[in-house]
Symmetry: C2
Subunit: 134 residues, 2 copies
């Protein structure tokens, strides 16, 4: 059973190929994600990962491991605080903040930090339901 | 220039192949999205689209059309109110709620409704920055 204070973390990175795949899948072909020359003219200097692709690791962790199969995603607040780049190591850090046993729901803090600097790239809360594990 | 009250809408749907691609890309292979037999045992009765994949249409619209190239995604709050299914027609409806010209930021209501029933599947706000169009 998921408890308040439980944590889960996972180190991950995305490749340029994965960014291209997400651009194809979503239709978001904003050159900021795909075109190094264009990105060089922006404040980011190089192509950045789509925010929603960056957030996909949260879907994976919640759906597969923490709490895993059977998770129903109710809500996600997500603050894209710093850009994420391809081939950089990030760590997703999840912490259970609130549990409602009657409704089988939980609020989980979802954070993505740069593995090297520790700076926060993504911050927000996921609201989920799980009939067996909450 | 983006103005308060401006709207944009787009009809879309996702196929099972796109759901499989997103499962591969994100690593979220929760059987609720992929396995019809498993999904039949749940309250959803058939496989549902990953919430984050459903939200990807918002990334596309903001990054490509409304306001388009140059959009920087700052924040997204997203409430997955009803499940989304493959091959169903949905409409993404965006409305500009707030503009901050000094910061070049806007808050845009992001809604996804079932094209047939009009029921709301996804509801939330996107916070974006665009140096030229806001």
């Amino acid at each position: 059973m998921l408890q308040i204070g439980d944590t889960y973390s996972e180190v991950f990175s995305y490749t340029q190929d994965q960014v291209i795949s997400f651009a194809e899948l979503s239709g978001d072909k904003n050159p900021l994600h795909l075109d190094a020359e264009y990105a060089a003219t922006t404040m980011f200097k190089k192509p950045i990962i789509h925010g929603i692709l960056g957030a996909s690791i949260l879907s994976k962790i919640l759906g597969m491991y923490f709490p895993g199969e059977g998770t129903i995603y109710l809500k996600q607040e997500i603050d894209f605080k710093r850009p994420m780049y391809v081939d950089c190591k990030y760590e997703a850090q999840l912490t259970v903040l609130e549990i409602n046993k009657d409704r089988h729901t939980a609020i989980i803090e979802t954070k993505i930090v740069d593995k090297e600097s520790g700076k926060v790239n993504v911050l927000g809360n996921a609201h989920i339901m799980h009939k067996e594990k909450i």
